[in-house]
Amino acid sequence: MKAAGVLLALVHNTVGIMTPFLLAATGGLFTELAGMLNIALEGLMLFGAFFSVVFAGLTGSLLAGVVLGILSAMAAALLFASITLNLKANVFIAGLATNLLASGLTVVLAFQMFKNKGVVRFELGRLPVLSIPVLQRIPLLGDLLLGHNILVYLSWLIVLAASAAIYRTPYGLRLRGTGLSAATIASLGLRPGSYQMSAILVSGFTCGLAGAVLTLNLAAFVPNITAGRGWIALVAIYLGNKTPWGILAASFVFGLAEAVSNYAQGAINVPADFILAFPYAITVLAMILYSIWRHYKGRA
């Protein structure tokens, strides 16, 4: 019975923890389908994390924080996009630049505004939690899926919307076409560049929200709070076979890995550094197994 309770709690926590992965990976899916390796997810998320909590602190409104945080991340995405698309810079290097800019600028601004390069705390209300008493009584499902903050549910809606946009609209068709063959899209009289631009902006939107989830939950900004989540989101896109539902599954796995390591931190005597290394180790292992599987499947 105790084991079942632990498992239930783990999965419940996973549903919350996976949200930033899920959001960032969903936005990254757009850029990936448009044929760009978007390693800026990490930096865009950090922009969203910093500005959402700062604006929430300044305005006293969580909603304003979320909206302005997303807009800040989209502004950074716009910079990233115009340098890659208009100045024709290497997308990979410009992505690195975005990550470097995010980690540098957030600390510079935090130091300037709060004279503090460490943890900055804010007086914020808690994110509203969705609770529907009737549904909560459903065993298992009620325990696992309800009682999270509303941004978690918003992320599910975004995955649904992303899936619809990618597979059910002309826009999605052309976006995927851009990734497969930009020349074909151009020959139809469309501009592949504007599809790539829109994809980067979408990734800015979702990463901004992903960052907001991190800091608003904590009511604090910690330098480099994203801690590699953008990279893991990138891997989730590959492991999820570049589909929204695959990404959902992959994000769940990474969320579970983090939930298990959080649990292990309290329950078993493992050095914290090993626990921090665990998500990366499990990710690289998953990647290798996946490529082995693909290697032999392709051969058979």
Binding site: A94, A97, T98, Q112, W231, L234, A277, V284, S291
Partner: protein
């Protein structure tokens, strides 16, 4: 033909000058916005690193690991292989060198130093080589796998530095110090500049020779230009996924190891942070040319030293260096910037 390539060089150089010019401009703007005494801050940022032997030597010393990481990235990029794990390779190389020195209380200074450097080199090579091996064997993307392995290893190194090897006697998150016998000789007192700077120059020369004057180097560059064509030409292309990674990792590891022997004398938690990332920028500024890596590394070290001097003597924080460096990252590969210059030259 000759004329055109010369024009390309001029356009490339002026494009680079514009990139660096814009980055300096951003530095000035940032300082004016952030500092309460902008003129003094600007002075310390740009002139500070050159004002005395101590600052100048330390700046050159900061460039030394960047030469190694820049070379490591240049080798990989020339072969179109991506090593994003530089951070972890430098850091674990540094730990390996420290451990070897600590494990050899009786050894002769030279022998121990050589062993430590060799251990650092091997550690980096194995870490990066793994990603190359996975790529060759199963097509696992080396860019992401090298990053992930390096990140995981970084935490493990942290564990050893702050756990089993931690010296409770010092107030740092750092290991026991290595013995004086293993220290590399200082060559520009009172600064920390040491003979590893000469090793860095030698490494740049060696990598240049390897890439441009040997058979393996030729085949590696061919694979970088066009892997399919190279396969058709009878080159063993899968070997040139692993070899550049091994070399790249070895240079990163060695850079970390020499930083311990020459500068730090103990592994301090996260002391090498940024050396790997900045190596990428250094290689790109150098156009992935091994000899260009040296001035590019010095330039990067200059930005770092400038930000440090500005922080010490004025009221801005060190991270403005990261912002300025990100501007360089943004623009250094911006084709349009370079092409615009080339076009204007042609019409003129």
């Amino acid at each position: 033909m000759k004329r055109r390539s010369w024009e390309a060089v001029v356009a490339g150089a002026s494009g680079l000058a514009i990139t660096l010019g814009i980055s300096f401009l951003i530095a000035v703007v940032l300082i004016v916005v952030l500092s309460k005494q902008p003129l003094a801050t600007i002075y310390y940022f740009f002139v500070g690193p050159l004002t005395n032997r101590y600052y100048l030597g330390n700046m050159l010393n900061t460039a030394v690991p960047l030469v190694f990481t820049g070379l490591g990235i240049a080798v990989a990029f020339k072969a179109s292989v991506f090593n994003l794990g530089g951070e972890g390779q430098v850091y674990s190389g540094a730990l390996a060198a420290t451990v070897i020195c600590l494990a050899l209380p009786q050894a002769n200074g030279y022998l121990g130093g050589v062993l430590a450097a060799a251990g650092a080199l091997a550690t980096g090579a194995v870490l990066a080589g793994l990603s190359g091996f996975f790529k060759m064997q199963w097509g696992t993307d080396e860019l992401i796998s090298s990053f992930l392995i390096s990140s995981a290893v970084g935490f493990i190194v942290n564990y050893f530095i702050t756990g089993p090897l931690d010296d409770p006697g010092n107030n740092l998150l750092a290991t026991f110090a290595i013995d004086r016998r293993f220290f590399l000789m200082r060559i520009f007192l009172p600064s920390k500049l040491n003979v590893s700077a000469l090793f860095a120059l030698a490494a740049a020369g060696l990598v240049f020779f390897l890439m441009y004057y040997t058979h393996a180097g030729y085949e590696m560059r061919m694979c970088g230009l066009n892997r399919e064509f190279s396969r058709y030409g009878g080159i063993n292309v899968s070997a040139y996924v692993v070899l550049p990674m091994l070399l790249s990792g070895a240079l990163h590891g060695l850079g970390g190891g020499l930083a311990i022997l020459g500068t730090y004398h103990m592994a301090v938690k996260e002391f090498s942070f940024g050396m790997g990332w900045n190596g990428i920028a250094v290689a790109l500024i150098a156009g992935n040319h091994p000899l260009g890596v040296v001035p590019a590394a010095v330039f990067f070290a200059y930005l770092d030293a400038g930000a440090k001097a500005a922080m010490l003597h004025s009221d801005v924080t060190f991270e403005i260096a990261a912002v300025v460096q990100s501007v360089i990252f943004y623009l250094v590969t911006a084709q349009a910037l370079y092409n615009a210059l080339r076009r204007r030259r042609r019409t003129a």
